[in-house]
Symmetry: C2
Subunit: 325 residues, 2 copies
């Protein structure tokens, strides 16, 4: 099975489209991976870039991409609502298929080593790549931001994992790491009352004793006129979609509230769909191969999970160059 990762670097430029284009160009039309999106936010003054494809090809492209950000962004002149500490602020590597999180940690370490040596910038390893517990969460590392990092980085507690213990004068510092793909999954409840969505969210979410990798809360959909349980699944291999869907259905029975639909927001890895289809298809004696065509995968997901507004384009791998539709 081919190894596929997602990489989602964030740069601290969201207003100057010419600069954004020049930096993003370093990740565009390259062999071995695809640029999925580059979404600038003017208020944040930040752009989120998503690429997917071959791990080696992506890792090889990152240093030139960082070089362009160094050349074009000066954090001394950067303002915006989103906290930031670097011109490239964060580079997460995310396993999509045929690859485990451990290998993404290795890639993060390699890229951190190369980038810090070539540009003399400090790198903090974060998330699954973190080497100290206080570096798991990005906000903890970034606290103080570019301005505060000048002093913070001299504290032995915040000696970077790679590079010098002082920030680059215009670039700052960068966090590089590995994390699981996040699945944004919402379940529609046929009610305009908040209580069922609120209670079910509490039953489900890890922080109140529910499924460990689930974040959940109630959300009212103004246009549609009903509540939903809106969730992030932080590790779909441990908390698959079907389990969370069935758990919401089970809890909703108490309130006699119907489930009218579900949605997957953003892109979803094929493996997350395959795993959940297996739950439903296995008792029917049906195989669900990992390489099921994307169209069929999407149709089955719509049928089994009651998904609305879903199609094959929402499957990450369907966006790869040469993907069989």
């Amino acid at each position: 099975m081919k190894k596929i990762i997602e990489c989602v670097p964030n740069i601290s430029e969201g207003r100057d489209q010419a600069k954004i284009d020049r930096i993003v160009a370093k990740l565009k039309d390259k062999p071995g991976f695809s640029l999925i999106s580059a979404e600038p936010d003017k208020d944040y003054n930040r752009t989120v870039i998503t690429v997917i494809g071959d791990p080696v090809a992506i890792a090889d492209a990152i240093p030139d991409f960082v070089a362009e950000a160094i050349a074009l962004i000066d954090l001394n002149r950067h303002t915006g609502e989103h906290p930031r500490m670097g011109a490239v602020d964060v580079i997460p590597f995310v396993p999509i298929s045929g690859i485990e999180i451990e290998e993404c940690v290795k890639i993060a370490e390699d890229v951190a080593s190369i980038v810090s040596a070539r540009f003399d910038i400090p790198v903090f390893l974060y998330a699954k790549a973190a080497r100290r517990p206080e570096r798991i969460l990005l906000p903890d590392i970034r606290k103080g931001e570019f301005e505060g990092m000048k002093e913070k980085i001299k504290d032995p507690l915040w000696t970077p994992d790679f590079g010098p213990a002082e920030i680059h004068p215009t670039f700052g510092a960068v966090a590089i790491g590995a994390r699981m793909p996040l699945v944004a999954f919402n379940v529609d409840l046929a009610t305009a009352e908040e209580k069922p969505a609120k209670d079910i969210s509490r039953y489900l979410r890890g922080s109140s004793g529910g499924y460990q990798f689930v974040q959940a809360g109630p959300a009212y959909l103004e246009q549609r006129g009903h509540y939903q349980v809106t969730m992030n699944i932080l590790d779909h291999t441990k908390n698959p979609i079907y389990r969370i869907y069935e758990a919401v259905k089970m809890e909703a029975k108490r309130f006699k509230v119907e489930i009218t639909g579900c949605e997957l927001v953003g892109l979803v890895p094929a493996a997350a769909i395959v795993e959940s289809l297996r739950y439903y298809r296995q008792p029917e004696g049906k195989k669900t191969p990992e390489d099921m065509p994307f169209e069929e995968l999407a149709q089955e997901a719509i049928k089994r999970l009651g998904l609305r507004d879903f199609d094959a384009k929402k499957i990450i791998e369907a966006n790869l160059p040469g993907a069989v539709k």
Copy 2:
């Protein structure tokens, strides 16, 4: 609502029945609480005593009970398979009804203060009463046992929470704390194959991403010829029985394995039954009051959760003096 707690002191004597009887007598036929059981184990050389009832009455009885253990047990002459550090080794206070865990922590602190002052013995606060993270788990405190505690207690890390920083020469030291009642819940699978029970256990248990307060594993019942998912629910207020039962049923569908029954092992708090009955009865428009008669509670629990070998005597509160059957 009347406050009811359970208290389960363990003493380091399980062979000399005359001594056991004299110590247990201090918790027997007292106003305000009932002695439920005193179970000596010869191999362990240890007796587990269970009382339930009024928190103040129980707390008031503990010092005289400790005095009798000091008079009759000399740990220098104690051998047995179970680790121990004190003549009374551990005293947990458990909220049953009308009382929160925080109040049981307060009771543990008060009893610790009184007992340490009156008998000059060191006390470690543990579980929910622990004041340091390394004192949450009893085995961590008890490591080294009576013999090793002589030195260990001089380490500033192990200065007791109450009493002197040296062990009592014959009694040793005691851990006093508060914890939630544990619900031992098993679900029968109609199969002699291990895989379904093993997989479902992994899906359910907190340590692999499932429900946080669930411990689960597969167990083969030799006599009955089938597997079960055997579980401990460490906090039934966060992970109610119905939720765990329904989750096992949901996961079992994948394997096309029938659920033929369930069992609750040992005693269960009425509140744990009431909470779960509400899930099933609420959509039928039926109220489930906290003071539902124990017979009715038991019959409904058998019907809704498919319990076998269950009756009202397994409800903790039904064992209280003057309990309405």
